[in-house]
Amino acid sequence: MAIQVELIKSIPYFSGLSPAELDSLKGRIFETTAERGEFIVLESEPAAALYFVISGVVKVFKTSADGREQILQIVRPGESFNDAPVFDGGLNPASAQAMGPVVLYRIKDSDMGVILRTHPQVALNVIHVLSQKLRHLVSLVEDLSFKHVTARLAKILLEYAGDGAGPAKPRLTQQEMAAMAGTAREMIGRSLKQLEDEKIIRLEHHRIVVTDKEALKKWAGVVE
């Protein structure tokens, strides 16, 4: 499909450009698609390009040596991924996988260099976008390094756990648990997985079943 100026305009990297400037970018942007589960970028491989999501959703993540996954960003339409290697010439810092059918716009690193030199507004936009990404990652580092998210989650689970008797306790979404624990939703998913791996809870469709209440209390720091 032909590259559409209206879609380029919706990308924050290119906001503030005139219609003529946007039109001039068309020759340097290529459309590509991916199906659900397809890897678009692989961690530690040489970078080929910078990508913008036009439709669909892409997951950007790191994988540990033992196969655990840490999601860094859920990329929605208009947003970019694999930005850093295009600007610093390094390898891909993380992998990117399509979460469903996706349409992407792709710009090669050499073309991005030309765009930056010929359109200073784009350079300012890039600084703005990268600053926002830096803030998000710094916040994630804080959560991963200093906050005992699993302990807070354990407290929340104990507080909201029903025992079958008495009034029903409110159900909680992962977003609500994140807000209560003062963390990001991604961290709640990670902590739930940790508790499940330790056989303290079991995830059953829409239920979180606490299978080892004493171990959960230990996590929560509850002393009796």
């Binding site: 959703v57 469903g100 029903g162 909680l172 939703r185 079943v209 606490v210």
Partner: protein, 68 residues
């Protein structure tokens, strides 16, 4: 109590991102909003909730303690 994701139609902007990530095909666009179908297929992966840009989808968990 309901065992399907809860969709707030007032918040839903009909962008359809949830449909693209739903591996069990339980979501469809009806008019300007998202509707949930074929409830038996939903695996409660909660990705629809995670990607929704307006927070219109909720996948709440009931938390229960298993007696030993």
């Amino acid at each position: 109590m309901s065992e399907i994701p809860v969709i707030d139609q007032e918040r839903c902007n009909g962008c359809g991102l949830c449909i693209t990530v739903c591996s069990c095909k339980s979501l469809v666009l009806v008019g300007n909003g998202i509707a949930f179908i074929e409830t038996g297929n939903c695996g409660w992966c909660t990705w629809c909730e995670a990607v929704c840009p307006t927070g219109a989808i909720n996948c709440p968990f009931e938390i229960i303690i298993e007696e030993r």
